[in-house]
């Protein structure tokens, strides 16, 4: 019964009546941001139209917005997938980095294969490295009971420094802080589309992201394996009691989650940059992914929509600064307002509860 209820709770987000919650949340967030800007002495209307102009204003900007959305979609799916199996994968960041590193090294070191073989090998290689990195945390959890949150946070740092070390020793471009360029046979950029989009950096990442989105759904809701994963997520004890191998499923879910995050990193290297920099801090895509997944209700369609929202806000915020002259600090507050309201759906539900209360009461009577 309770399982049924929570399934309904999740799926309700996508039925017509409750689509209003996120929409109201976004509107409230925008209003709140507008008040902040108004207090700061800026024209909120100008700022918001600058935001949308920045995102949809030209072919170049549309392309770059898609480029911004892609890694968020991957890490969002990654975190969401693990959530479904009851695990909090805060380590998507590390898996993302390992995916990047795997793709970089394979993309540079293999120089004898044609495109048709090299690109898939680099993509798969990076994906597997990311998956193994996730599986490491999954293994610690399933075999030793190590809390995945703690091991993941630590593994993020290990991934960052390991990746820096590997790049420095294996593929460093002399006299700089980055790897050499990948072989052109490993590139996942779509050159003709980039040209058509005014030199925006277009790559196959978004296509793979959409494929992952549908796979996410198919695996979890249309296969036996997915049923087991979700059962473990709802109640590991009950799952064990009904004969499901819980630890194996935890390991699997972390591995798949890591593979998705790793793919995000792969396309960042093979599609966008074509090299990897040695950096002192991670790009933070993994952490953004947590917010994306939560906002999307851990549902593939929800995650797709919320990654678009995050991507638009992230890329468009530069326009608020650039065209409307709103200082970056205030832009960050506005973005924060929107995310806050969208994330606190309970608050919205509380606000509109009075309107639905009568209906609920009627239902109860009927029952």
């Amino acid at each position: 019964m309770s399982e049924n209820q929570s399934v309904r709770k999740w799926s309700r987000i996508f039925v017509a009546s409750s689509i209003w919650v996120p929409i109201i949340a976004i509107i409230l967030g925008l209003i709140c941001g507008a008040i902040v800007m108004w207090i700061g002495g800026f024209n909120a209307w100008d700022a918001y139209s600058a935001l949308f102009k920045k995102v949809f204003g030209s072919k170049y900007d549309i392309g770059e917005t898609i480029r911004t959305i892609t890694p968020l979609l991957f890490t969002g799916l990654s975190v969401g997938f693990a959530f479904r199996a009851g695990l909090f994968n805060i380590g998507a960041d590390g898996q993302f980095i390992m995916g990047m590193t795997g793709a970089t090294i394979l993309g540079i070191k293999i120089d004898f294969l044609p495109w048709i073989l090299h690109a898939p090998i680099a993509v798969l290689g990076g994906m597997i490295v990311g998956g193994l990195w996730g599986a490491l945390a999954g293994y610690l959890k399933s075999s030793r009971g190590v809390n995945e949150v703690i091991s993941c946070i630590m593994l993020n740092w290990i991934a960052l420094y390991l990746s820096n070390y590997l790049i420095r020793t294996l593929v460093l471009k002399q006299g700089s802080q980055r790897s050499e360029e990948i072989q052109s046979s490993a590139s996942m950029s779509i050159d003709w589309l980039s040209k058509a989009m005014d030199n925006a950096r277009m790559d196959w990442g978004i296509v793979f992201g959409l494929i992952c989105t549908s796979l996410f759904y198919i695996i979890l809701w249309r296969t036996k394996q997915g049923y087991e994963l979700r059962a473990v997520g709802f109640n590991p004890e009950a799952a064990r009691f009904s004969g499901i191998n819980v630890s194996k499923n935890m390991l699997k879910s972390m591995m798949i989650s890591g593979m998705i995050a790793g793919l995000g990193g792969v396309f960042e290297v093979l599609g966008v940059f074509h090299y990897q920099v040695i950096s002192a801090a991670s790009s933070g895509y993994g952490f953004d992914g947590i917010a994306v997944a939560l906002l999307g209700g851990n549902h593939p369609v929800g995650i797709l929509l919320s990654s678009i929202l995050f991507g638009v806000l992230t890329y468009g915020s530069a326009g608020m600064n650039f065209t409307a002259g709103v200082p970056t600090e205030i832009v960050r507050i506005v973005i924060g307002c929107v995310i806050f309201f969208v994330a606190s759906q309970g608050l919205i539900q509380m606000l509109y509860k009075p309107f639905t209360a009568r209906r609920d009461a009627k239902r109860k009577e009927a029952a």
Partner: protein, 367 residues
């Protein structure tokens, strides 16, 4: 019952996530506001730099009417308030804008992937000149320069081989050589420390020049280097300094950006406990910010003047392109005018070596 526990689990997740977001937000804030405790100090610092600046300051006096012209500047991930070159460059641009009536704007880059879109924002909006601050811009700058052959671009700390990019490099090794002479003649323990940010070619130039300067006047002194691995971690800078001071060093030269603030903190702590140690500052006259009790002298790198000069040249229609290297001869690097802690005979020695470098009698190594 079950629903309730699910709900509270959800709440917990939300709290954890918002905490993560807040924490990571704080992290990046720190990057921007390193040592924000004394924001007032930065303004006088860069102002005092201008009177000392003689040869390259030529443009400031002349009046150019550049109404309607626009100058853009993209910061690296340090942000515009980094108390280092981004801030110096932006202050210089604001001054130019005030003097000439041109319009100046900046865009902060939050991630590596922002470099290209940020430069593009300026280029596509018809800016007269677009600055990329910091060597991290090299790759993005090259791409943008090739895609937009008509755009005028300028770059600090790295060199891009394109006719429409003016690259400004500094001979940090020459300035470091001079402070090396001060250190070599001042040390009592014959042990001197160097704290670097990251092992980049540009920081290596500081280290090598400094070592050569010390060796020139005091062959018995040893210089020990310690790299922090980050430009924005004062805590690690403090630790690195503590190690060197514990090892007997009585002077430390730092080229570590924000991390270097920790070197000053450590020196201050030691001074309080009655242990007299020195720090040699970097980029601007850091005695203005950290006091004369611990600041022996500073190796000034006049980013602001370079930005002013190139911008004014461009506004008056004399954009050149190509690479300029500013050394002692051009006044691009050097000691501050006021050095209350350095005795006259040492300063005479410094002047003597300065002339030798300018005349070409001494060539300071770079790596």
């Amino acid at each position: 019952m079950k629903k309730k526990s699910l709900k509270s689990a959800g709440m917990l997740l939300a709290v954890v996530t918002s905490l993560t977001m807040v924490l990571s937000g704080c992290g990046s804030k720190n990057n921007n506001n390193n040592g924000a405790a004394s924001p007032s100090a930065s303004a006088p610092a860069s102002e005092s730099a201008s009177p000392s600046a003689s040869p390259s300051d030529s443009g400031t006096g002349t009046t150019i009417d550049a109404k309607g012209m626009k100058i853009g500047m993209a910061t690296d991930t340090g942000g515009v308030n980094d108390k280092s070159f981004n801030q110096q460059a932006w202050e210089a641009l604001q001054k130019v804008a005030n003097d000439t009536g041109a319009e100046a704007k900046y865009l902060e880059s939050k991630k590596d992937s922002d470099y290209q879109p940020n430069l593009n924002s300026f280029v596509k909006n018809g800016y007269t000149l677009t600055w990329g601050i910091g060597f991290l811009f090299a790759d993005a700058m090259k791409t943008i320069a090739e895609q937009n052959p008509d755009a005028k671009l300028a770059l600090i700390d790295s060199s891009v081989d394109a006719p429409n990019v003016e690259s400004v490099l500094f001979k940090e090794n020459e300035g470091s050589y001079l402070v090396g002479i001060v250190a070599g003649l001042t040390t009592k323990t014959n042990k001197i420390g160097f704290v670097g940010g990251m092992e980049l070619p540009v920081i290596k130039k500081f280290e090598v020049g400094f070592k050569a300067g010390v060796a020139a006047v005091n062959p018995n002194a040893t210089v020990t280097s310690n790299y922090v691995g980050d430009f924005s971690k004062p805590d690690l800078g403090k630790l690195a300094a503590a190690t060197l001071y514990d090892g007997g060093a009585d002077i430390i030269f730092h080229a570590a950006g924000g991390s270097g603030n920790g070197v000053f903190t450590e020196a201050k702590d030691r001074l309080k406990s009655g242990n007299k140690v020195w720090v040699i500052g970097v980029d601007k006259d850091q005695s203005l910010e950290f006091g004369n009790e611990i600041t022996l002298t500073s190796m000034m790198k006049k980013v602001d003047e370079a930005v002013t000069k190139v911008t004014l040249d461009t506004l008056s229609g004399n954009f050149k392109g190509g690479t300029v290297e500013l050394g002692l001869k051009e006044g691009g690097v050097g000691l501050p005018v006021e050095n209350p802690n350095v005795p006259k005979d040492v300063l005479d020695k410094v002047e003597e070596y300065k002339q030798k470098i300018i005349s070409g009698e001494i060539t300071v190594p770079t790596e």
